[in-house]
């Protein structure tokens, strides 16, 4: 008996489309996300051309060949997919979604498929099928939890990733992602939130003043310091929406005295390429590498962001030098390390509410960072509880795979994608949910609001900022503060 399925009434609200019918008609594309105008003629042919070009210059073929041979269609993935559990629509079963692309591959790119297709004259790619893929691949949150439940080992996340890449090459990609990426790669600001450097500097100075006021410590955000140990790339949206996370990170570095810097040449960890295009993924990763090398930094430090961390950690070695690539670490790894070394002191009496930790898929699914943030939280939070399941099996926030940035599908995200997560949060009874990921935070904040859950969503470093204990030598006396302000 499935208990997570949404009601018919909720379904109506969740699947509402913000798109105008005339646009859908013009674009011949019945999807819920906005898409910039593109060439609608001959879509199947162009899809196949893009597919062929990508296969030629990638490593997907070996996986597709393997998956079409081993797929047993057992439907076990249905038991784990939070989207299917909420909708109950068999078209949301991960294996069905993967089959949409696998069948195109089988028919058009394998000898057997081509022969069978020629003899029977059927099975070729149609416009309807392109439309179905465009709809289906963005219903998935790319959490890759189904991969863990597939006895055949089919990586549905890889197939969704590839499907979106091919679609993007024929012009089908969420406008929200494309517009941000365009600004990041070709715009004047060079980042997805279009923050000009002077505005960044102002923001950081303002945050430093705030922290001096609150903590009586000079906490700075060093800019363009050459030769630093770490060059910092947060999700750039944190500068606008998650100031407390950044304050916590700056506070940790002030307490330890380690060198870190943010580059004004490029300071955005966000990489939407991971969600819709390998070509974009490569370009953004190279920007991170270039900026770190320009500043002669030793390591790439990614802020609290799941996809930014994974895209740098996994793809920087691929695109920027293999084993000679710069090391990438996530801020939680750094904070945990300095805390273990005794260089970071946290007050266990500050956070008294019930706290739970949400594992971002891109950080936890492959077992990268699971225990470290938990050890930190348990060290200074009086009442820590776990969400179940967690770690490698953690449930997605519901806004993964870039869907959180598509504002027009918020009802879908909070009623369908995030339904299981919402139930999990309610069940835990936590009052603070720690989500060390810009995407998860935005989604979870919308989720608790839409689902009316009494719970605050925060970053790990938001809490660390509250609990951090500074050495007396770092404290600024009121007189010094006064002088400093006058200067």
């Amino acid at each position: 008996m499935r208990t997570n399925q949404i009601s018919a009434e909720q379904r109506e609200k969740a699947f509402v489309s913000a798109r105008k019918p005339e646009v859908m008609e013009k674009q011949k594309l019945d999807v819920r996300y906005h898409v910039e105008d593109f060439d609608v003629n001959d879509r199947p042919r162009r899809f196949l051309e893009a597919f062929a070009a990508i296969l030629k210059h990638s490593n997907y073929r070996v996986a597709l060949d393997h998956f079409i041979r081993v797929s047993a269609k057992c439907s076990r993935c249905a038991t784990t997919c939070q989207v299917y559990q909420a909708t109950g629509d068999p078209k949301d079963i991960p294996c069905y979604r993967s089959e949409l692309l696998l069948s195109v591959y089988r028919r058009h790119f394998t000898m057997g498929g081509m022969l069978r297709g020629r003899v029977a004259g059927t099975g070729h790619l149609t416009d309807e099928k392109v439309q179905e893929m465009a709809d289906s691949f963005y219903d998935c949150t790319a959490c890759r939890r189904c991969n863990h439940e597939c006895p055949s080992g089919i990586d549905h996340g890889l197939i969704t990733h590839l499907g979106r890449y091919i679609l993007s090459e024929i012009g089908i990609a969420p406008r929200a992602l494309v517009v941000s990426t365009r600004e990041q790669l070709e715009g004047a600001s060079g980042n997805t939130s279009a923050i000009p450097v002077p505005a960044l500097i102002d923001t950081l100075e303002f945050l430093s003043e705030d922290m001096l006021e609150e903590k009586h410590v000079n906490i700075a955000f060093p800019l363009d310091v050459e030769g630093s140990e770490f060059v910092f790339f947060p999700a750039v949206s944190d500068f606008l929406m998650e100031a407390e996370t950044l304050m916590g990170i700056a506070a940790v570095f002030t307490a330890t005295g380690d060198s870190w810097t943010t580059g004004t040449g490029y300071f955005d960890g966000i990489n939407y390429g991971l969600f819709y295009s390998d070509r974009i993924l490569e370009r953004v990763v190279k920007k991170i590498d270039n900026e770190t090398r320009r500043l002669k930094g030793k390591k790439v430090l990614i802020g609290e962001c799941g996809h930014a961390s994974r895209s740098a950690k996994q793809f920087l070695p691929i695109y920027c030098g293999g084993d000679k690539a710069l090391p990438v670490i996530n801020i939680m790894e750094y904070t945990h390390k300095v805390w273990k070394e005794g260089r970071l002191k946290l007050d266990p009496n500050v956070i008294t509410e019930k706290v739970a930790y949400h594992d971002p898929c891109n950080i936890a699914r492959q077992g990268w960072i699971i225990d470290k943030p938990r050890e930190l939280l348990k060290a200074f939070c009086k009442d820590y509880v776990e969400l179940t399941p967690n770690g490698e099996d953690a449930v997605c926030c519901g806004g993964g795979g870039g869907t959180v940035s598509i504002d027009e599908i918020r009802p879908y995200r909070t009623m369908v994608g995030g339904k299981v997560k919402a139930d999990q949060i309610r069940e835990s009874g936590c009052k603070i949910l720690v989500a060390p990921c810009a995407n998860c935070k935005k989604q979870l904040k919308e989720l608790v609001e839409d689902q009316k859950i009494d719970c605050e969503v925060a970053g790990l470093h938001d809490l660390i900022y509250k609990a951090i204990i500074f050495d007396d030598s770092l404290k600024v006396s009121p007189d010094e503060k006064q002088t400093g302000e006058e200067e």
């Binding site: 051309e49 893009a50 070009a53 990508i54 030629k56 210059h57 990638s58 490593n59 997907y60 073929r61 070996v62 996986a63 060949d65 393997h66 041979r69 081993v70 797929s71 047993a72 269609k73 057992c74 439907s75 076990r76 249905a78 038991t79 784990t80 299917y84 068999p90 079963i93 294996c95 069905y96 089959e99 991969n147 863990h148 439940e149 006895p151 055949s152 080992g153 089919i154 990586d155 890889l158 090459e169 494309v178 990426t181 365009r182 070709e186 390998d278 070509r279 974009i280 490569e282 370009r283 996994q314 793809f315 070695p317 691929i318 695109y319 293999g322 084993d323 690539a325 492959q366 077992g367």
Partner: protein, 234 residues
């Protein structure tokens, strides 16, 4: 009838067994060659071996997976696979044939164990077929081969059990034995070309997925050139 049996046991067996072995070798080599090619092109050649091995072993001993989802179907599937693999390979009568034919032998299962495993395989094959037919999710995904395979696999088990344990007339025995051999040979021939190829490919699933995620470097430029998009705006 004797001539038919001899033909089925002799040349036809050798042919079908050969097709199976060569077919499986082909898919295995294609798979590994593809993985090697991908690895050679990969921009990053480090692979998470610990993760790959751990995730592969999880499905070789799926005990802790059983109760996570569809427990009834999972238990049926595990028990079905145990009988399906053990009985044909470790049955005393089969080993005797190998010994008389090519002179090799190995320890056999005690007969009562083999008999019970045969019965359990039959029961669980039926359960899987029924489970697939009545499950909303499985039936939605299923192709023809997904329904036909459990039924086809039933044939040699049922006929084998009849021949080994039931007192039937000589002619019935011969017909049943012929069906037993021919159905097994049909399975051999189809096996490498259908989803049952997973019997040899499954250990490499996690490895292949990880290799596929190791993209080649500098593909942006190459894909742009191929698609004639060089210099095109984002």
């Amino acid at each position: 009838m004797d001539a038919w049996l001899e033909f089925a046991r002799g040349p036809l067996f050798r042919l079908s067994f050969g097709v199976m072995m060569l077919g499986l070798l082909r898919v295995l080599l294609l798979d590994l060659y593809g993985a090697w090619e991908a690895y050679r092109r990969a921009g990053d050649k480090t692979l998470p071996w610990g993760y790959i091995i751990r995730r592969t072993l999880v499905w070789f001993f799926p005990i802790n997976k059983v109760f996570k989802g569809r427990p009834f179907y999972s238990i049926c599937s595990i028990l079905f696979h145990i009988g399906l693999i053990l009985v044909p390979v470790l049955l005393f009568a089969h080993i005797q044939l190998w010994e008389s034919g090519v002179g090799i032998s190995w320890p056999a299962l005690p007969k009562p164990v083999a008999d019970w495993l045969t019965i359990s395989t039959i029961v669980f094959a039926l359960a899987l077929f029924i489970g697939r037919s009545f499950s909303r999710t499985s039936s939605f995904l299923s192709r023809k081969q997904d329904y036909l395979w459990p039924l086809l696999l039933l044939l040699p088990f049922v006929t084998g059990y009849v021949c080994a344990n039931m007192s039937v007339g000589a002619s019935t025995y011969q017909v049943t034995m012929l069906i037993h051999i021919l159905s097994a040979e049909l399975i051999f021939v189809l096996l490498p070309f259908t989803k049952i190829a997973h019997c040899i490919l499954l250990p490499f699933s996690q490895f292949v997925s990880c290799v596929a995620w190791r993209f080649p470097a500098d593909t942006d430029d190459a894909v742009c050139t191929t698609l004639n998009k060089k210099g095109a705006p984002v």
